[in-house]
Symmetry: C2
Subunit: 490 residues, 2 copies
């Protein structure tokens, strides 16, 4: 009989290389400036350096780690870099990384309560902590999914189930069903439209409600659209409001929208993937106004609650409908226990990683007050950056910045009087500025378009970002703008 | 200005507690017998011990880790235990755990090539390794998803898109569309039916094709059903064949099914979540016969390729259709690069963890030959167990065991002549045996039902399971059966 040792790496190697990786990560977190935020990588250039096909013989771990350092790391965009300010800055924290290490090590599957009771119960406890800290009602049941795209899809499937059209049993084709419709703002995240595609609702049945001058859904327009659709025989299925839109972090008027949702009897889902977490900060609690009236709300701890990707939380006020939309229990998963949560009944994935552990680590290690301090600090950094942009004659702020994202653009003084007619040239100039800034490796930003205007986005949310990095970001942006300003003339 | 140190755990703490966790995991892997495979936990008992609400002040990491050990660990079912033989034994390996630690540490998002080029390119390379090692055609493009439930849903959405019915644009309601139908065996995984629900196809339009005496889809029945549905105006959307069904690990006749898929012009998806990986073993390559003709195939490295949950690979022969089913690129994610893969275009989730890294670690650290050795060993253990069951007068094997799962039941000798009329009593007895075995904490099994008969499943797939554990499993089962045998009389 073989012994079991040759079947896995030995513990001696495991702890030795584990230590080496911890040390490497520690150095990485301490001196991120060793790396450009984003390197100048040519498509396919990393692939070319990696051997193909797969090795047939075992290779030493030391070599694998060395290859990671020399072949993989130079091709990464460093989301951990304090000067990564693109998209929404996802951020990990050291206690949460240790939580993820533990999860990977114990490797339980939280599909059924019975399949690992503590994994299910810790998920219930931690999501209860977050719910209470956000002042959401006790009836909201939480589930962890991978990303907000999945959470919103799951919520919208529950909305469809709530219509009691027997879609679950009979499907949507071959029946005399009127078109189902979704209502969301033109600034909603693309995942809402994608969910409408997956659910068989279709892009043409997604009503993209106009926004006001601050990029918030126009509730009057929503009412008109709901009325028109009801009159025309459509079946309104779900309203999706956003707390913290992806482009500008605008906050839809959820209280008004919630009233319309009640009046018209339509499920209200709130996409708070980025902004919802800010509701932990007392002076930001307003961002969740009206959300207690929603049927479901998603927020992503992997965006702004200091856990590594992935971790998205969906709260649902009507879990029995959510369950009806998804549950299917084959014989091999039947268990006797009552009064337990089997999380596999509330979403798409059957197998579920033990994600609650990293969230638990963050809550306990930082404490709620510590979390609030960090969120508040990020918001204050963005407000400082905004004030610098405002006071510079060649830049303008392009949208309100309620959270930690600032939308701005470069507008050379020479062109300011003709900014409307020169919009396309100004757009080109801003894309050039973005490219130059990103190519410097000193800063990484992303962009969006608002009313036809290219806008740069600076997003703060990384635990390692301090004021010095925001100052440096502003310097890099200004420095790069100056040569462009010279080119277009004063 | 604040310094950045107070914003996260210090490196000193990170490496110190990281070391402590590595040492804890090492001891855990070495002496799993310290823990019952599955404890006798009462619903709610873990929750009760955990403080509520969330702590407002930071707590010391030492205390958090201690609470993990004393409050969480006793409530876990130990999927890592060498005597965990329920469901499909997912298994982690030490190199892959280190890979997961690195992924959590660098925390990049592999949504867009540009968002972290190396993460995308490593995923392409590693999935190319796996594809070649399985002898699947070069045209198969791979994507990593969380679980097979998601992979199959994504594949079935592509199948729907391949019908060119403009479901993406117009949806499925309010149109004169005939019902779409799905074809799969009555032994298919519940995720197929769940995907049909999500996609708006409906449970009633899932044709559950009968199986033969070895639980394989009856291709003749499939042909009849396709013909009947075509005649009756249904729109066949997708055939889902299974390589390694969940109950018995039976293998559907994919070559015949592939011919029907071509003849009727219907997308063929193969669910090889468990069994597909076995195709790496030369003498098991037959399990993938016909799969090169499929349109898509899923297999789960987190089941039997030694990476921690989650990691499911979907290969698709028609990636342009898959892309058409999902792509939506908002302005803020528009990039210039051509000739790159933006994985967010091929599935539901936008944000994507860097899962390729752990898979790369496993391929390199074990080498293909090492992986094959381990798979072969698991299969041989199951064959041994099967031979023991066969030679025992009070047990019977209930299904062929082509992989590493054995389906068997206890049939007291006294009842053997009346086994048909006493089916329910025998079922009860087997459930009692299962409960007794699992309650012992020495072994963890699960069950299924075949033709009305309760059947116990012993599944091997854990890197830490050696022959001694399978011997012990058999002893535990026999010992527990003996008292039951006495009770029913000789």
């Amino acid at each position: 009989m073989k012994t079991k040792e040759p079947f896995d790496m030995t513990n001696e190697e495991f702890t030795r290389y584990g230590d080496q990786i911890l040390e490497w990560l520690a150095a990485y977190f301490d001196h991120p400036e060793r790396f450009p935020v984003s390197g100048a990588i040519l498509p396919g250039s990393i692939k070319k350096t990696l051997p193909s096909p797969a090795p047939s013989k075992p290779e030493p771990m030391a070599q694998i780690i060395k290859d990671f350092e020399t072949l993989i790391v130079p091709g990464l965009t460093h989301w951990n870099h304090p000067s990564f300010m693109a998209y929404f800055a996802i951020t990990s924290s050291r206690p949460a990384i240790l939580g993820e290490l533990l999860s990977a090590g114990i490797n339980v599957n939280a599909m059924l309560w019975k399949a690992s009771p503590a994994a299910t119960e810790l998920e219930e406890v931690v999501l209860g902590w977050l719910r209470r800290a956000l002042d959401l009602p006790a009836g909201f049941q939480g589930t962890i999914h991978d990303t907000a795209s999945t959470s919103s899809l799951v919520a919208m499937a529950a909305a469809r189930e709530s219509l009691q059209l027997q879609v679950r049993e009979k499907g949507m084709t071959g029946r005399d069903l009127k078109p189902l419709t979704i209502y969301t703002s033109e600034h909603a995240h693309s995942s809402i439209e994608r969910a409408a595609i997956v659910l068989g609702i279709g892009q043409e049945n997604v009503r993209k409600i106009a926004v006001d001058h601050e990029f918030r859904m126009d509730a009057g327009e929503l009412r008109n659209m709901l009325q028109r659709d009801k009159r025309d025989g459509y079946i309104p299925c779900c309203i999706v409001a956003t707390v913290g839109t992806t482009s500008t972090t605008s906050v839809d008027p959820v209280p008004e929208i919630a009233r319309l949702s009640k009046e018209f009897g339509v499920w209200l889902h709130v996409d708070g993937a980025y902004g919802g977490i800010a509701g932990l900060v007392p002076e930001m609690r307003w961002v969740l106004d009206g959300c207690a009236e929603a049927d479901s709300i998603v927020m992503n701890p992997h965006k702004w609650l200091f856990v590594p990707i992935d971790c998205s939380v969906l709260y649902c006020r009507r879990p029995e409908i959510l369950r009806r939309a998804f549950t299917l229990v084959p014989e091999y998963l039947r268990t006797e226990e009552e009064q337990v949560t089997n999380y596999m009944d509330y979403g798409i994935a059957l197998g579920r990683r033990f994600r609650a552990l990293k969230l638990w680590m963050v809550f306990r290690y930082f404490g709620l007050e510590g979390i609030v301090d960090r969120l508040r600090y990020h918001i204050s950094l963005a407000q400082k950056f905004q004030s610098w942009v405002r006071s510079h004659p060649s830049f303008e702020v392009m949208a309100p910045a309620p959270f930690s994202v600032v939308c701005f653009r470069f507008l050379p003084q020479h062109w300011q009087k003709r900014s409307e007619v020169m919009m396309e040239l100004i757009n080109q100039l801003n894309l050039e500025l973005l490219e130059n800034v990103n190519r410097s490796g000193e800063l990484f930003l992303s962009h969006t378009k608002l009313n036809g205007r290219v806008v740069l986005r600076l997003a703060i949310g990384n635990l390692r970002t301090a004021e010095e990095h925001v100052q440096k970001a502003w310097e890099v942006i200004r420095r790069n703008s100056e040569s462009l300003e010279k080119r277009v003339g004063k």
